[in-house]
């Protein structure tokens, strides 16, 4: 058969594209091979991994799960993002000691494991003193990946992985879903394959990055992608250039990535004796503790809002979690706004560095909104900044955007299709609206269910979805809901304990 004919066989037809619900015959007519499996999870990142971990521990065999993904292991994307945003392997991430994706119990915590492995009490003493006498103890990013690799092997994750790009999920006539996958070129006889399943889980991560409008405009107008960079893309060349010749860097944003980038700039300055100057622009400049009343006041200062983790700790199990679970619509949006806002941990090392920078006159932070960025005659970049101090022109050699703006969920092809054809809707924050058990509202199909976890669902009954612990909370809710529907077992106290013992000894999870 000619190659072209082979390639065109088994592709989406107009009839498939036009119909929100697909009968089996329609897929068969298109020549798309169909694979049956009870549950597919789309994404293959940490969100998929923790759900699969839960399900395997709940007794679901590997044959009943398929992970559809473009990446080879669940931490690949996370590893890339942490590396470029200045968290190399030995550095510690911003995650609680008991938020470990490789262990559904959170016991032993990362601190306890590190203490055991390195035969030292130091991590435990640190945890005991946090957050009063020490910064929050957090795990080294390399240890997080190592422990996930171990768990991945234990649950047989690689055997469930199917490589390819998911194009869409559509409801199936008679119940369940079709998930259309485009496998890597040359790996199959058809362009697409379809997975027919009763359950689908979407954990597709961040839909994409969005640049600040003025920086986007600059990049498009002048075609300069080297001097105006986003902290979430590789920008090592900036640090390298600063080592060859002194320069001024403008840092924009008040979150943890801004803290990380500052640390890198300041570490390099110290290590290599550089003369780097840093101009830091905050859109919202926080001068002290802030909040509406005594029971709702967050610490802050020098521009920053300080908070240990991405959210106040009680979103993962305490008062805020309980409260948000009861709120809908505008009330929910208001509560998100009250506890939200960009923030960073108040770490002692960062405080020392910034103090030294202020005293030495090479670090300057101020409030401002940048109207536009233009190249100056001397080759520098000039930002027109309006703010509390009036309108100013600030020059810099590099601009690092650390604001971490995220694209709309409709930028993601699968989510866009789900919004257009799958019955899904948006929550008060504009992301995917999910139930308390993480089923995407409006997408039920017969006895099947479609779930979503992670960043795409931010704004739901549970905040903190885009965190390690949030993914585990989502996975637990989904596993319990699936058990109610007869898929997998509900993990009770006895199963939980026996499975923990297996985890502790590194014994594989049994099939079934």
């Amino acid at each position: 058969m000619p190659e072209r004919e082979l390639r065109d066989r088994g592709d989406l037809t107009q009839a498939l594209l036009d119909n929100a619900t697909w009968p089996d015959s329609l897929v068969a007519e298109a020549g798309i091979p169909v694979y049956d499996v009870p549950l597919v999870t789309v994404g293959g990142g940490i969100g998929s991994f923790v759900l699969v971990d839960y399900l395997r521990i709940a007794g679901v065999p590997t044959a009943d799960i398929r992970v559809l993904s473009t990446i080879d292991n669940p931490w690949q994307t996370y590893e890339y993002l942490t590396r470029v945003s200045q968290i190399p392997g030995p550095e510690r991430i911003r995650s609680d000691s008991s938020s470990r994706p490789d262990n559904i119990w959170g016991f032993p915590s990362y601190a306890l494991s590190e203490a055991w492995r390195e035969r030292t009490l130091r991590p435990l003493v640190h945890v005991l003193g946090e957050p009063i006498f020490a910064d929050y103890w957090t795990p080294r990013v390399a240890d997080v990946f190592k422990s996930m690799a171990r768990e991945s092997g234990r649950i047989g994750y690689p055997t469930m992985l199917v490589k390819g790009v998911v194009r869409m999920v559509r409801r199936r006539a008679g119940g369940g879903y079709f998930t259309v996958l485009t496998p890597p070129v040359g790996t199959g006889p058809t362009k697409r394959v379809a997975y027919r399943s009763r359950f689908v889980h979407l954990a597709v991560g961040y839909p994409g990055l969005r640049f600040l409008p003025d920086l986007q405009e600059f990049r498009e107008k002048y075609g300069d992608f080297t001097r105006v960079v986003n902290a979430y893309e590789s920008h090592e060349h900036v640090y390298e250039a600063l080592r060859t010749r002194p320069g001024t860097v403008m840092v924009r944003g008040g979150g943890i990535v801004a803290s990380r980038v500052l640390q890198r700039l300041m570490d390099d300055r110290e290590r290599f004796g550089l003369q780097t100057k840093i101009v830091h622009i905050f859109r919202t400049f926080v001068t002290g503790a802030h909040g509406p009343h005594l029971w709702s006041r967050r610490k802050g200062g020098d521009g920053w809002a300080y908070q240990g983790f991405n959210y106040p700790k009680s979103v993962w199990g305490g008062q805020l979690k309980a409260k948000m679970r009861r709120l809908d619509g505008a009330e929910r949006a208001t509560e998100y706004k009250r506890m939200g806002g960009t923030n960073t941990p108040k770490r002692r090392r960062w405080q020392q560095q910034m103090r030294a920078g202020r005293e030495g006159g090479w670090y300057e932070a101020s409030q401002g909104l940048v109207e536009r960025v233009e190249p100056a005659a001397d080759g520098t970049l000039v930002s027109l900044v309006t703010g509390d101090a009036g309108t100013r022109k600030i020059g810099a050699d590099y601009i690092i955007d650390c604001t971490g703006l995220e694209a709309d969920i409709a930028e993601h092809r699968v989510l866009a299709d789900l919004l257009a054809h799958g019955g899904a809707g948006r929550n008060p924050l504009g992301r995917l609206e999910v139930e308390r058990h993480f089923e995407v509202k409006g997408t039920a199909s017969g006895d099947g269910a479609l779930y979503a976890t992670g960043a795409a669902t931010l704004g739901g009954y549970f905040p903190g979805v885009d965190t390690f612990l949030g993914l585990q909370i989502g996975a637990q809710e989904i596993t319990d809901d699936l058990a109610r529907r007869g898929f997998g077992r509900r993990i009770g106290s006895v199963r939980s304990t026996t499975q923990w013992v297996r985890w502790a000894f590194g014994r594989p999870v049994r099939e079934g």
Binding site: L128, P312, K313, S314, G317, G318
Partner: protein, 138 residues
């Protein structure tokens, strides 16, 4: 675990009942006390504890995170232990006559430490959902 009020109370009662009882059963002969006394002390820690938890919950409201660091869970032994000793010393605890101070301190500290250790880790093994429900067991 970041607690809600009902979770605090439930966790305290269950841990004192299970872990506290085991520790009390072991420690009592070692400190030379009688079981009636030590179990009455244990019951008092539980009953008074409900009141203490209300106070802790109130104090927690001043924290932005609405959390209760592990260290607080350990250090609150001091005011709780002191108050209970004062009540014992004043003869205000029913069914208990006298307890030597040393025996009381060892028993109280052993129970407290065991409950605190279990609450800070092993509790999550049999109760998988406990930490996400603010310490509620029901």
């Amino acid at each position: 675990m970041v607690p809600v009020l009902s979770g605090r109370i439930q966790t305290r009662l269950v841990l004192l009942l299970v872990v506290g009882s085991v520790v009390t059963a072991v420690v009592t002969p070692l400190v030379g006390a009688d079981y009636r006394t030590t179990f009455a002390v244990l019951a008092a820690v539980a009953v008074l504890g409900v009141g203490w938890e209300l106070l802790y919950h109130l104090l927690m409201q001043f924290r932005w995170e609405k959390d209760w660091p592990s260290l607080f869970g350990l250090l609150t032994a001091v005011p709780e232990g002191l108050l209970l000793w004062l009540l014992l010393d004043a003869g205000l605890l029913p069914t208990v006559d006298t307890v030597p101070l040393a025996a009381y301190v060892v028993h109280f500290a052993a129970v407290w430490l065991a409950v605190w250790l279990v609450a800070n880790g092993p509790m999550r093994v049999p109760f998988l959902r406990w930490r996400f429900r603010g310490g509620r067991l029901t």
